[in-house]
Symmetry: C3
Subunit: 269 residues, 3 copies
């Protein structure tokens, strides 16, 4: 029998007792699970980057993926578990952080509220649902508990909206948005590989941000341009990335997360 996989993602930063506590709680409930850290370096309360990271569960085995980017902990926001069509269950707060990953994992099969105290660590701390609600739910599911036992079924369309939607093509332009800036200053757009291929970029494309217009060669890796030069390419996680080879795109061009970006083909010869 395959050992189930539980992944943990949070904005807790450098290895804290919070992460260790979640590992312990998961293994208490299911000592046979493989529990891994997907990412804990998300900026405090950054739902957009959290959602973006959860998209990368596509590279993990089908499993139980917990996300604790949860500025609303202790308020009336619901805890939820989303069964995806791929077979994963995503567990976390109903604040939109799980929606983009749900789409990438094939869409929502079923979603429930986390209400049943039988599958919580009691007493539940009002300020740490990651340990007392989300991780226990994932761990119990990994032992074979049915998702229906966790609580009332919800409608996917009633959940809090995603922190970003996918880019769209209109008039042969892509209307996109910066959804993440990584530690090197590369910007990641809400453009999927599929939309990019459909857009069918030529050798150079033009990015329009508010006042700025930037022409970028389309490449497949950093080294195809000289040091300090900018480029655009498929990133390593299913999205499109604009970067500078050995430099910071976001710093050079003063781009922030959330900025809008229109992508055009260069029509000049």
């Amino acid at each position: 029998m395959k050992k189930p996989l539980i992944s943990l993602t949070s904005d807790f930063g450098v290895q804290t007792q919070g992460i260790g506590n979640m590992h312990g709680v998961a293994l208490q409930i299911n000592p046979n699970a493989n529990v891994i850290d997907l990412m804990h370096g998300i900026a405090d309360f950054d739902i957009q980057s959290g959602a973006r990271t959860m998209e990368t569960t596509i590279h993990l085995p089908i499993g139980f993926h917990v996300c604790v980017v949860d500025p609303g902990v202790g308020t009336k926001r619901k805890g939820i578990a989303i069964k995806t069509k791929r077979g994963d269950v995503l567990v976390g707060p109903d604040n939109g952080v799980l929606i983009p990953a749900t789409r990438i994992l094939g869409g929502c099969d079923k979603v429930v509220a986390l209400e049943n105290p039988k599958y919580q660590k009691l007493p539940v701390s009002p300020i740490f649902h990651g340990r007392d609600v989300f991780t226990p739910a994932a761990a119990h599911l990994s032992t074979g508990v049915k998702i229906e036992e966790l609580g009332e079924e919800l409608k996917f369309e009633d959940l809090v909206k995603a922190p970003y939607e996918d880019a769209i093509i209109a008039d042969d332009q892509i209307q996109s948005e910066v959804i993440h800036i990584n530690k090197f200053g590369s910007i990641h757009l809400n453009i999927s590989y599929a939309l990019w291929d459909q857009f069918n970029p030529n050798e150079k494309i033009i990015l329009e941000f508010n006042e700025k217009t930037i022409e970028c060669p389309v490449v497949s890796t950093f080294g195809e341009v000289d040091k300090g030069k900018h480029l655009i390419m498929k990133d390593d996680y299913g999205r499109i990335e604009a970067a500078i080879n050995l430099g910071s795109f976001s710093e050079k061009f003063k781009i922030k997360q959330g900025d809008k970006c229109v992508v055009k083909k260069n029509s000049s010869p």
Copy 2:
């Protein structure tokens, strides 16, 4: 058979080869253990914060918990293993860092010195007992080795004292101390939930630090006060915490770890 749990805590910081080496040594001795990181972000040599973190083993499965906050490595300070009444074994230096956790895990059942070279990784580096003494002891215990085999039995009361004691109530005031300040600047006091409930705080309480007097509403989560306002509440690990909603209590009021704090009820109507 349940897989035994080994947890590792240290002041080694961002994932270093030291942590990886301890994982490897543990799994060499017991490949069937679940080895987790409880916390490695403790400030260098900060025994008080280390002790505080070890208290949170109460949320982990009964297991073998290693702590390497060890400014005295290479000196004559003993290495010890403490069997707790809950059934855990705490392993680390005899510098007080394991004492508060021992109390929270039900008290000391037995304590021994780590002397038997059969359960060490030889040759023992004089500067890395975490890898060569503490982790091997925990891993061998997790395979069923009896604690008596590790070395001479010691008396719990002869161990180096804890870096803090529990707060006490006198004259309807709590005499307390700041034992930890977290990354958000929230201060954690040596007041247990039980003492707090016994103190029976009313809606507002007064904190007296040296020259400063601060009135705090008693709440159960940050969001109950406005942004920038301070509060006091049960933290997520068994202690009492004073904080500012989306701000830093320790910075605003210039509080340091180790500061004394007298807690009073607000007698004005």
Copy 3:
């Protein structure tokens, strides 16, 4: 049956989705492996420190050790797997980062190029071979796949050279080099314990760096000198370290990684 061990090392920094993705890919292929992080805090693209960290696999169980310090990803540099005489397999880029560890693990038994797409995660991202080439190779090997199946056999002597060689003794002096500076500012030299013992240092030795001459007492741990004083000793990972007790050697004496250092015995009485 013992569970195989897979270790992961990189320059990815604080827990990123890249590390989590590699864990997931490894467990997808071999859910029964123990997958650990050896180190992810290596400076960006620092092949020398990466090589130094890989040397510490000597303290891990015989296993499958992946190293992703890979400034040339996406170029024509090969991916390789080196079977060592101890029985480990080292997996990573052919840029020298695996060579010092190979020597410490007994030398090279066989080395192959990572070419067989059957043992890769397809499609291979041109910018993340850690996830799509190196980790899958290690994980497949851990399930019993033969190293010959991964690709063409190479000659060890044709691989890219190591980022440092071992120090040598000539005229009763050691010609050495600084291969790593740790977070405390201690410098680590390319001098093995064995060479050091052969050199047979007396109580004080002299380090000559370019313009500077520093006399150091030979000790076995920091505490043997007063706070702020410098020393030289065996480090905790098989090399020789010069340090200041509770201070920074590299800062005080302005030493950089890569600096040459001549080690002499103090001939004065």
